[in-house]
């Protein structure tokens, strides 16, 4: 059984596709919009902006989040900024350049048409956010300020101190609250989606658990939208919030939605290194710091024990500047991460365990003064000091790569619809725009592009064309899905084992980080594929979940999410093993150039790998969407 992937890319020249498509799509008459209901799961940048925008259009929207308020979705933690092709700096930026940088940055594994549209609407996002009162940084003349980010040679990143994600999310959240007050959106906080309901081949609703009362409830709608984020927490340690999980997208996968490129995970080069076994999460230090910080390690392994200020200039290796002179410290994330791993593998890493490199601001402080640096990065420096007890104004930061973002996600067509009709997927939860590596400041752009501008147009076409039947929760598909959820909860609670979910999750994270992390090889991936089912068995026979299902039970929540990670991890490794090339964040050691750079195989792997669930215990089916590059010349990615 294979699904035919239909990307539904409109014909015509790249720059005209979106306009033409918007004209050709069917519209829903304003008076008819209120007859349609839409479920939006997730309230981050993508989910909140979509829910608010759909409600403004007149649809009846229900929005769900597992946090106590939609304002707490993990988009809030994004620090550095949001890209847009405004060319306010007159430095040669354009929609075409943002498009080109993104396709190249993604190592030519993204769909051209989607990326071009993303670059087009990027300019509208900034306008929209300014209108909502997002306090972007400004110059003395009152106009918007920009900074540079990795993988680009223009300054196109808009920012609000080191809290850009927070301010953009609060803008979307406030728009959402406005619509809740107006009655257009019904908000369900502290609700977790545990099942997707498909009726007659179409996504028609979800089953949720009320995390306070434990009540399992059915929700019916004419279309379902998932904006449930990425799966980086499969690794246990990541920069994601503790609650981030794969459950919503994985449940949809098991109901027939193809999962694309699950092995594409982004390891962010600048995070605070692991301090010990107790570590519960990793903290990012914004990429924007690389604008002024210089990355280095000692040239000689024997110097790694010395204090950084005692190591003279000639004994330091500013390896990014040395290896990639034109991008230097602003090399893209995958490249900077791998370079850090490489110098640490050579025994030149600093700090506990030798797993760290310096990010040094001494030159910038000398050049610009401490007060300028404080103004630019003050909150990040404070955060660093709070966590490490070291003062980065006086001594260099220690950083190391950590799991940060997942480019893979549910496969969607140009309309952001998955292989299940009616199920739309937006933001990090889908796979579409970043290829094998995402550039900095592009996640916020994509989440808001999908939620504010793309989905509200395309979902209308789906509703107008498919004309969903009237349906309520008495339909047998809903009661069956409720039974499934209840059975699963009962099974978890009945295990009564001896290990906490966290301890098993740490073990899974260790397997993935070692075998499916910054560098992968066939042998390691096969070992992971053998180890994961054993760990899953351990989980299902030995996890301890105190308490009941009829109350707030955080142990049950964790265990339920881990159960899905334990299955999903296998899909990640399967995908990583099958992709016999290196591209972006996916680095297969067998496939590298003589100087250690990623070696792509465009002849055999210029496609999206969309995996389809084939049933319990069966190998997933691989579907391929060939990627055609008509506008960008496929070249070896070079930042030298």
């Amino acid at each position: 059984m294979t699904t035919k992937l239909e990307p539904k890319i409109p014909a015509g020249p790249l720059a005209e596709k979106w306009d033409k498509h918007r004209f050709e799509m069917k519209l829903v008459n304003p008076a008819n919009k209120r007859k349609y209901s839409v479920i939006v799961v997730g309230s981050g940048l993508a989910g909140a902006s979509a829910a608010a925008s759909l409600s403004e259009l007149g649809y009846r929207v229900s929005c769900f989040c597992f946090q106590d308020s939609p304002r707490r979705a993990h988009s809030i933690a994004a620090q550095g900024g949001i890209n847009a092709a405004k060319n306010y700096q007159n430095d040669g930026d354009s929609i075409w350049r943002l498009f080109y940088d993104t396709v190249k940055g993604g190592d030519f594994r993204a769909r051209e048409s989607n990326v071009y549209r993303l670059a087009q609407v990027s300019v509208n996002i900034i306008d929209q956010c300014v209108a909502q009162g997002v306090p972007f940084a400004r110059e003395y003349g009152g106009l918007l300020a920009n900074r540079s980010f990795g993988g680009a040679q223009v300054s196109r990143t808009f920012y609000a101190r080191g809290q850009t994600g927070q301010q953009l999310l609060l803008g979307a959240y406030q728009a959402l609250e406005k619509e809740i007050a107006r009655g257009g959106v019904t908000m369900h906080s502290r609700h977790e989606m545990l099942e997707l309901v498909v009726v007659d081949g179409k996504a028609r609703g979800i089953i949720t658990r009320d995390l306070v009362t434990g009540a399992v409830e059915a929700h019916v709608a004419d279309a379902v939208v998932l904006g449930t984020g990425g799966y980086g927490n499969a690794f246990y340690l990541s920069t994601n919030a503790k609650g981030c999980n794969v459950t919503a997208t994985y449940r949809a996968y098991k109901k027939g939605a193809a999962f694309a490129n699950p092995c594409f995970t982004q390891i962010h080069p600048t995070c605070i290194p692991v301090a010990g076994e107790h570590q519960s999460k990793l903290t990012l230090m914004s990429e924007s710091l690389r604008n002024d910080g210089r990355v280095w390690v000692p040239k000689k392994p024997e110097d790694r024990g010395r204090k950084p200020d005692e190591i003279p200039e000639q004994d330091r290796d500013y390896y990014l500047e040395r290896k990639y002179p034109s991008f230097g410290n602003l090399s893209p994330r995958d490249i900077a991460s791998r370079a850090a791993k490489e110098v640490c593998d050579e025994g030149r890493g600093v700090g506990p365990g030798g797993r760290g490199v310096y990010l040094d601001f001494a030159d910038a402080i000398k050049r610009l003064g401490e007060s300028t640096i404080r103004e630019r990065y003050g909150n990040l420096f404070e955060m660093y000091e709070r966590i490490t007890d070291e003062n980065p104004y006086k001594q260099p930061m220690r950083i190391y790569p950590a799991v940060h973002y997942t480019m893979g996600g549910l496969w969607v067509d140009y309309n952001l619809m998955s292989t299940i009709p009616g199920l739309h997927v937006i933001g990090e939860a889908n796979f579409s725009d970043h290829g094998a590596n995402r550039l900095g400041a592009s996640a916020l752009m994509q989440g808001l592009a999908d939620g504010y501008f793309v989905l509200p147009s395309t979902i209308g076409d789906y509703l107008a064309t498919s004309k969903p039947d009237k349906l309520d929760a008495s339909h047998p598909a809903f009661s069956a899905a409720i039974d499934d959820v209840n059975a699963r909860t009962a099974k978890l609670l009945a295990i009564k084992g001896k290990r906490s979910a966290d301890s098993i999750h740490k073990e899974l994270g260790h397997i993935l980080w070692e075998k499916c992390g910054m560098a992968r090889n066939a042998k390691g991936l096969r070992e992971a594929l053998a180890a994961i089912p054993k760990l899953r068995e351990e989980f299902w026979s030995n996890v301890a979940i105190p308490g009941s299902g009829a109350e707030l039970n955080q142990s049950l929540e964790k265990a339920g999410r881990l159960a899905d990670f334990l299955e999903f991890a296998e899909l990640m490794c399967t995908d990583a093993l099958h992709r016999e090339e290196s591209c972006g964040g996916h680095f297969r050691e067998e496939h590298q150039t003589p100087d250690g750079e990623a070696l792509r195989d465009d002849e055999n792997f210029a496609y999206v790998a969309a995996w389809e669930y084939a049933g319990e215990g069966k190998a997933p089916v691989l579907n391929k969407e060939p990627l055609e590059f008509e506008n960008v010349h496929l070249s070896t990615r070079s930042y030298k």
């Binding site: 308020s69 405004k86 909502q132 009152g142 906080s189 503790k242 010990g276 709070r386 504010y452 105190p546």
Partner: protein
Amino acid sequence: MRVLLHVWRQAGPGATGRLVDYEAADISPDMSFLEMLDVVNDRLTVKGEEPIAFDHDCREGICGSCGMMINGAAHGPMKLTTACQLHMRSFKDGDEIWIEPWRAKAFPVIKDLVVDRGAFDRIIQAGGFVSAPTGSAQDGNAIPIPKQNADQAMDAAACIGCGACVAACPNASASLFTAAKITHLGQLPQGQPERMKRALAMVHQMDLETFGGCTLFGECQEACPKGISIDTIAQMHRDYMLATAIRREESAIGGTG
């Protein structure tokens, strides 16, 4: 290190709560406060006992999920720091630590240290936004905003909605939270058209949610992990008084209530 915890345990919203003692041994000073609780919870779980429920998510001080009274101080002893960013190096070996939920009528306890802060969302619903439907915006640079205004708006917008201000206030007032939003939007040209309506509606909602009034103790400012200033409260009062006066005039002219 080893610390002795006295933790508020409450099975559910209607249940009677009490302080329960737990010994936390083998704690590293490099652990965050919540990682210390993770260790305690892991040990409870293995014994089959229910772990201590507490809200948390990003663990980097920005989502506003975590919040607890630690030795009587909201988010604990370190200034400008959320509970998740507090580290055990702020305590000494052998310390006793009292951990309780936010205490306020408007924040009912759900379980243990978890409270319902839905009242904050409803205050935002009342008027904490700019009505700018998607697609209706002009160019982002069309209206210059003096850097100083943008910076002051950002200072107020840094609020994470954690509720520490309410928990620290002897009146359990939500004035700092409400005022931060009123000040953020009031500093910007985009916030002007709805400024008066916003002040009236948000203050009114704050009262409806049973938060207390502000008597300028200043405890909120001390407790705020993001350093929001009580100057914002003065701004809120000015906007509110002006709005009340204008509303009277509008009523007189328009003849409507």
